[in-house]
Symmetry: C2
């Protein structure tokens, strides 16, 4: 559970943080900050978008979340911090996880003299759902 790990890092377990964590846990839709904010609005009317951004940044720095820069306009977030590929559909804008089988992406420690710490692999095209729709018509 992520909550206990946060405690160990000296982070306070506020209701806002727990709610954000709950939304993200097991979530494969890769929401952006604003989507999380709107989902929580009904329950937490006083919640601030700044708090959402703040929490997401903390979680990314703590290695509990992964930031996804696949879309040109806004950042998305993945509760799975293990490096894996993502696919963005040009038609419906959905982001999919691509599980490279059991082989997660290997991060080369050194590339042309650069010290590599992290990596991201993004793929673009038409997702299987949109492709099927097209086929039906």
């Amino acid at each position: 559970m992520v909550m206990n790990e946060l405690k160990k890092l000296g982070l306070r377990l506020t209701p806002q943080r727990m709610a954000i964590l709950k939304i993200l846990e097991g979530n494969t839709t890769h929401p952006a900050a604003e989507e999380i904010f709107h989902q929580l609005m009904p329950q937490y009317p006083s919640l601030s978008i700044a708090t959402v951004y703040n929490t997401l940044e903390i979680l990314v720095k703590a290695g509990k979340l992964q930031e996804i820069r696949i879309s040109s306009d806004k950042r998305h977030f993945d509760p799975n911090p293990v490096p894996h590929s993502h696919f963005l559909c040009r038609k419906c804008d959905a982001i999919f996880d691509l599980d490279n089988g059991s082989l997660d992406i290997e991060i080369p420690s050194n590339m042309e003299g650069h010290l590599v710490e992290d990596c991201a692999h993004y793929y673009y095209g038409i997702c299987r759902n949109c492709r099927d729709e097209r086929r039906d018509k």
Copy 2:
């Protein structure tokens, strides 16, 4: 030469476009729109940032440029449209091309049922220059 290819696409060769193309040709610094704009300001004081964005979008759509979404805050551009990896230095924010030898990135046509048209591989860490600086001190 890119200019002639643009003509074939029915695009007009305006001074602004040619200037933007000239700045990008052979450029390995991966400039953002604003950097291009500022480099051209002295020579083209009336140039509009909207024209820079417009031109960049046209060139990307025409397949003459590659958009780089490696940085979370702004988009960068690469005059080399062939898929290849990029490296972002967390210390100096420079973007480097990673030439995967002669093996360019292969785009799988199909991944888990999705139709893949394009891809991007990004790497993050400390570049060789910043690493060397650290070592000297």
